[in-house]
């Protein structure tokens, strides 16, 4: 083990695996990472065990990149462990940053989630009564599995976080830029910074033409043939671009899909979803309450649109039913 090399660990909490893949997506740069770093854990590519991390001295790791949200006690346990063992803790990707897609589960209670997943789901055996329990008595002792929390947390709800790299997943170029900076030994930005992203909204980099916005009808992307030159929001497609940091490379709008908001809120914004809702409702072109209702009914699942990534980190945080 060469101590001059950067000591790093990557981990996934409640995640889909995409963030881990995004690091691989840096292509041959991965060889530079391997040359510059000792990788102690990286679930998708490297066989690091929890006990190996536990055996390290506190603060031994130069960098821990945690992706995924905190959904259960295991996620939280490893978050604490990595925090203890590393000098710099990075929340990598939307889930660690603001809760991500798993955070949408916060609109339901744990009981509702279990009922839907284990009891009333067409893909499970009829009459199933088994739901996960943290402890189960069996012959020969007690079995335990991680406890499923009442809600999803973002990473900095449970541990101190130094930097945030947003995105679902972060754009490989941004991942590369941040890792290069750390490897180069140059001074790091102030603690708490969102790195690998712009300080302006996506509209800054989106090449579609923007005009004044007066919406008479909302559409889902497949419902209309869109004008590829024109702002998607002006065409009635709910695009989160104006409420979302740029930095992704405008991947979605350039592929004729609206921005979904994965790069999270702008620097001054407390609640990205609230911003999406208030801006979308601001551009409806009607004064008539009935017509407004009709126009709004064109948006299916406003919570899903506005809080697709930010529910756990929002002012709402979760359903309190």
């Amino acid at each position: 083990m060469d101590k001059k090399k950067l000591q790093i660990a990557l981990y996934w909490g409640a995640a889909c695996g995409g963030c881990d893949v995004s690091v691989l997506d840096t292509n041959e740069f991965i060889l530079d990472i391997a040359a510059a770093c000792d990788i102690h854990m990286w679930p998708i590519a490297h066989d690091g065990k929890y006990k190996d991390i536990e055996a390290l001295e506190d603060g031994f790791l130069d960098l821990a990149m945690y992706n995924g949200a905190v959904r259960n006690s295991e996620n939280e346990h490893i978050a604490h462990l990595l925090r203890k063992k590393s000098k710099v803790m990075v929340a990598y990707g939307s889930c660690a940053h603001i809760g991500g897609i798993p955070g949408l589960a916060n609109t339901f209670t744990r009981e509702e989630i279990f009922e839907s997943a284990y009891l009333k789901n067409p893909s499970i055996q009829e009459g199933n009564k088994t739901v996960p329990q943290p402890q189960t008595e069996v012959d020969g002792g007690e079995l335990t599995i991680p406890a499923f929390y009442k809600r999803v947390y973002k990473l900095d709800d449970v541990v101190d976080v130094d930097y945030y790299i947003p995105g679902c997943p972060p754009a490989p170029e941004q991942c590369k830029a941040v890792l290069s900076l750390i490897v180069s030994g140059q001074p790091l930005p102030p603690k708490g910074s969102v790195v690998g992203a712009s300080e302006r909204a996506l509209c800054e980099d989106c090449q579609r033409k923007k005009d004044e916005k007066m919406i008479k009808q909302f559409f889902r992307p497949w419902q209309i043939i869109q004008d590829p030159e024109k702002c998607l929001l002006e065409q009635g497609i709910v695009c989160a671009g104006s409420a979302t940091r740029s930095g992704c490379g405008v991947r979605c709008p350039d592929s004729n899909m609206p921005c979904r908001g994965c790069y999270g809120p702008m620097p001054n914004v407390v609640d990205q979803g609230a911003k999406i809702i208030s801006s979308v409702s601001s551009i409806i072109d009607s004064q008539d309450p009935e017509e407004i209702d009709k126009i709004l009914s064109g948006i299916h699942d406003i919570t899903g649109y506005a809080y697709r990534f930010g529910m756990a980190g929002s002012l709402l945080q979760r359903s309190v039913r």
Binding site: R200, K210, D211, E212, A243, N268, S282
Partner: protein, 577 residues
């Protein structure tokens, strides 16, 4: 900054207004222990001279740098206390008011709960005020020229008043001649003066006055800018466009009459001798009251409240029709001395100088008055064959309780006033609001009746609500007093509380562009950024909430300040738990 603040808190009992429901001593006792509070006092009338002096002295004695006054609505006394702390040497914007009167004592009937709420609101103000920023008033130059839209009696009066004060005026009239609705009228009630006399002299003076540029057959195409510095484009005769620069705008676009054919039971349009009040005015001006066949009518019925005070048409009273109907009774009597005149009314609204006397005199001249229920209006039908009159008016006379049939050769419908069909366009043009009936909305119905929500734009006459001539003229003159006051000052002081766009955060998405009710947001297509013209901004906060990028900040209403206020309420709640 926050920990170093020395806050003075002053709790007002407003005589008994606050004190009778809120325990002000308890509020003081709670507040004085809050972090940052250097001194906390209660007093009977904080807005009185001794109250204000107490604050001024304390600022010096305790070295206060922030002041909270827990009293009435800031709409009432914020200017008072801002001036007071300014006198004490603090920036006026270092003040925060907690409204424990309108939001507490006046709306609650439980002492404990009202007191609790007063504590919570005061705590919120104490948490907020350290984050206040100092501001200085800003001034812009005042162009002394004015644009008057509409050449009726209001517009003529306003134009003359300004020109007599030696200020330039552009008078824009849509029609080919001046005079407006008043030019359609013969005599005026209650003194039966000639409308022509009122107008002719004014029109003559207006057209001769070198300070007034009269633009007939003209319409305002567009208006940009802000108070003291407007630019307008006037289109004349459908083509020629004149650009003018003005400091103030007076809207005097008047009214239109209610369309009587909407009321089927009166037969307007069906019976040739059912006429509207304006049809009759035309006859009176020509000096002959005659039926379609040229004969003089023997039986004339006047029906009041046509389209007015009705659940079906306009709910409001048009104010002038009752007296005008009396005027007609007189006028018809003069033109056709043998005529029998019946006046059907719902209520006789004879307020106003000389009007009650006029009603009495008219009653003495053999006019028969019959009252009907506004929900059960009379009906007009054709008379039977062989009758010596051509129509029959049926009415449930409510004073006698009898159903009465009245013969009629002519029926006069007293049509009410309505907002003009183009009032929406005018409102958009000058950026003012309309009420549900389409009348332009004044800044304050009692205290500021001729100003509007847009600085520098004034309204006068019947474009704001139905009005008689004296009220219209009074309003027209009032607008000029407001404008001349601003011209005398030479510059306009504008509130420094406005929204501003942080160019470093704006991505040019243009969500805000259509949001501003005051047209204060400009988009720069080269820079691809939106910007707010601060003097036009009223700090309503619409764009601040709407901006998806968090690039717009409302000065004096920042997110931080509002969140601290919320924290304050929660802090009080947790202190109680």
């Amino acid at each position: 900054m926050t920990t170093e603040c020395k806050i003075g808190v002053y709790v007002c009992s407003c005589g008994t207004n606050i004190g009778k429901m809120v325990d002000c001593d308890a509020v003081t006792g709670y507040t004085k222990n809050l972090p940052g509070v250097a001194v906390c006092k209660s007093y009977k009338y904080m807005c009185s001279n001794p109250g204000q002096e107490m604050i001024v002295k304390d600022i010096q004695r305790y070295g206060l740098d922030r002041v909270v006054v827990a009293a009435c609505s800031p709409r009432m006394h914020e200017p008072t206390f801002r001036a007071a702390i300014s006198h004490g040497g603090l920036n006026p914007y270092y003040l925060e008011m907690a409204n424990i009167r309108e939001q507490c004592s006046w709306v609650h009937d439980d002492h404990q709960q009202a007191t609790d709420k007063a504590k919570a609101l005061t705590c919120a103000a104490v948490k907020r005020v350290p984050f206040h920023e100092p501001f200085d008033m800003q001034s812009v130059p005042m162009n002394s020229a004015s644009l008057v839209i509409g050449g009726g009696v209001a517009g003529l009066t306003a134009a003359l008043e300004l020109a007599d004060a030696n200020q330039p005026v552009y008078l824009v009239e849509k029609d080919g001649k001046l005079g407006g609705n008043l030019a359609r009228i013969d005599l005026t009630s209650p003194y039966l003066d000639s409308a022509k006399d009122l107008l002719a002299e004014r029109i003559c003076r207006v057209t001769k006055n070198p300070k007034i540029t009269v633009m007939l057959n003209s319409e305002v195409e567009s208006i940009s800018g802000y108070v003291g510095n407007f630019k307008a484009q006037i289109k004349s005769n459908g083509e020629a466009v004149t650009d003018i620069e003005i400091g103030s705008i007076i809207v005097c676009t008047g009214f239109r009459e209610f369309d009587a054919s909407k009321v089927g039971e009166y037969g307007y349009g069906r019976f040739p001798n059912v006429v509207t009040s304006f049809d009759l005015e035309k006859m009176l001006k020509e000096g002959r009251v005659v039926m379609k066949d040229g004969k003089t009518p023997k039986y004339v019925t006047i029906i009041n409240c046509v389209g007015s005070r009705s659940g079906k048409y306009n709910r409001y009273c048009s104010r002038v029709c009752c007296m005008t109907a009396l005027k007609y009774a007189n006028g018809i009597k003069s033109a056709a001395p043998d005529a029998f005149i019946t006046n059907l009314y719902t209520d006789m609204n004879a307020f106003g100088k000389g009007c009650e006397d006029f009603y009495r005199r008219s009653a003495e001249r053999d006019t028969i008055f019959m009252m009907f229920d506004k929900h059960a209006p009379p009906t007009v039908s054709a008379a039977g064959k062989g009758e010596h009159f051509n129509m029959l008016v049926k009415v449930n006379e409510i004073l006698s309780g009898e159903e009465v049939e009245i013969p009629a050769d002519m029926v006069v419908l007293m049509v009410g006033m309505e907002a003009r069909e183009d009032s929406m366009n005018v409102a958009r043009l000058v950026n003012i609001s309309r009420d549900k009936d389409g009348w332009f909305i004044e800044s304050h119905p009692k205290l500021d009746p001729v100003a509007t929500s847009t600085d520098g734009v004034f309204i006068a006459g019947a474009c704001a609500s139905p009005k008689d001539i004296p009220d219209t003229v009074a309003q027209a003159r009032a607008t000029t007093a407001r404008i001349l006051a601003k011209i005398c000052q030479g510059e306009i002081w504008v509130e420094p509380v406005y929204a501003e766009i942080n160019e470093d955060l704006c991505s040019g998405c243009r969500v805000c562009n259509e949001l501003c009710p005051y047209s204060a947001i400009d988009y720069d297509p080269v820079k691809k950024r939106s910007a707010i013209i601060s003097v036009m901004c009223k700090s309503c906060g619409g764009c601040v909430a709407g901006c998806p990028s968090g690039a717009i900040k409302a000065r004096h209403f920042t997110d931080k300040q509002i969140f601290e206020q919320i924290e304050g309420v929660l802090e009080w709640a947790s202190s109680r738990a």
